[in-house]
């Protein structure tokens, strides 16, 4: 029997589920877990004989389907050709606002992050934007972001075709409800509790009395992650692919010794 899924593998399978039914997913340059999730979704679609999933990884050679310079990703999104994308965020708040700029009063805040990148545009254009941040702590999941790089919702009458679809963290998976607006805790990852998530989250969110657990990948899916997906990852994220392999081994050793 194979070793149980690691925390990273739980994230990867969660992402693959969120991407089910999409045709073209774009992933940022430094996003190995979203890339792995998309690769898994592609492999699963192939196995189920569903339409092909195309994956564009910014900065990758093999997964770069663009030939019109760095503007093409944005044009492509605006043409409705990208179904899903990932956004991180130094701060994420309860209405889905994302802050990639810094902490404190802009511009001379206490902390400066790189900047908003394409978020202020892509959040409006791509139907399934998955907010992904492993760190789930009160400093990241805040009540109100200090700077809105990209807003979670827009007023009626504002042109908008995209927005938050889910929030995936190291502790759980949230859906986004546009009407409220706000997040709803869907599942807790194995080993995490509702109390822990409430304590780690600076914003209010809705949840069931006893949230379900994030289902681990079934054995076939797990085998795909550890085989094909890890191999495919190697080209764009060699370090992360190595880490994935190592974690599984350590995990397996730990299982054997306990």
């Amino acid at each position: 029997m194979s070793t149980p899924a690691t925390a990273h593998e739980i994230l990867i399978v969660s992402i693959a589920r969120l991407l089910h039914g999409t045709r073209h997913v774009a992933v940022g340059a430094a996003s190995p877990i979203p890339a792995a999730g998309a690769m898994l979704a592609r492999a699963l679609a192939e196995a189920a004989d569903e339409p092909k999933l195309r994956l564009s990884i910014l900065g990758s050679v093999t997964h770069n389907f663009f030939t019109n310079g760095s503007a093409e990703l944005f044009d492509c999104a605006a043409q409705g050709r990208i179904d899903a994308f990932f956004l991180g965020g130094g701060q994420i708040d309860g209405t889905g606002n994302v802050n990639l700029v810094g902490v404190g009063d802009y511009p001379q805040g206490k902390v400066r992050w790189p900047g908003s990148f394409g978020s202020a545009f892509l959040y409006f254009h791509i139907p399934r934007v998955i907010l992904f941040r492993e760190e789930h702590s009160p400093r990241v999941m805040v009540e109100k972001v200090d700077f809105i790089s990209a807003p979670g919702v827009s007023e009626k009458g504002i042109w908008r075709k995209g927005g938050p679809y889910a929030l995936l963290t190291g502790k759980g998976l949230f859906g986004f409800e546009c009407e409220r607006p706000g997040f709803h805790l869907q599942t807790l990852h194995p080993g995490h509790t509702l109390e822990e998530v409430i304590a780690a989250t600076g914003f209010d969110f809705s949840h069931d009395a006893t949230p379900a657990q994030t289902a681990p990948p079934d054995p076939t899916t797990l085998a795909l992650i550890r085989g094909r997906v890890t191999d495919e990852l190697h080209e764009s994220y060699p370090d992360f692919a190595a880490t994935l392999r190592q974690t599984v081994t350590q995990h397996s050793l730990k299982e054997q010794t306990t």
Binding site: F74, Y106, G115, S116, G118, F121, I148, S149
Partner: protein, 271 residues
Amino acid sequence: MQHPLDRLAAQVAPGMKLAVPVDYGGVPMALTRAIIERDIGNLHLVCVPTGGMQVDMLIGAGLVKTVETSAVSLGEAGGAPRFNAAVRAGEVHMLDATCPAIHAGLLAAQKGVPFVPIRGLLGTDLLANRPDWRVIDNPVREETDSDPIVLIPAIHPDAAIFHAPMADRFGNVWIGRRRELAAMAYATQTTLVTVERIFDGDLMDDEMTAAGTLPALYVTDVAQVEKGAWPLGLWGEYEGDTAEQHRYASAARTADGFAAYMADSQQKGAA
């Protein structure tokens, strides 16, 4: 004899609005060091659409007055330390943007129009902090309800600088599929390019090479500088030197560390 790199650097003047490419797009790092040696200051950098080590170094050297960008970061090597410090200290004027807004501004210059509209951006603090960006009610809307849309004014850099794999002796530069380099050149009257090698022939003579060529019409001057993007990489040519990037990232955490790194690297350059 004057080094060709000095000839290029001499065409960058203090106070210029300078368009610079994204880290993986062909950054002229050797030319950047030449600009720093000549102490050409008061620059307004337009990052197309984000900046990295080049921008951080120019800021660390005290040469930058304004940064117009959608991000500055050292990528795998982490945050951009001199940039972050300068922003916190209020030493650089920030024009925070989003990638496609930078592209839109250059596109407007390319097309000779005063602005280009862009979807999105409404409700962001980017828009709130950019009084130069305008919001109008979409004049071609079909429904009578209002439809606010943002207009990005043309960005007219004084010069564009980048590094590419090759140029021919007629001044044509092969940029492959990195077409934002062409966009930078279209938007400005001065384009200074360093290249790995000189192509023996005319890049425009063959449809295959011509397809990836920025014509000499847009190119002011070219200098051959092997490994001209080091320690960054050049697509299709060589990988970035990640050890050196990390060495920079950790040295540049402090102003003194940065100064020591630069002195060391100038010395190496002189040797």
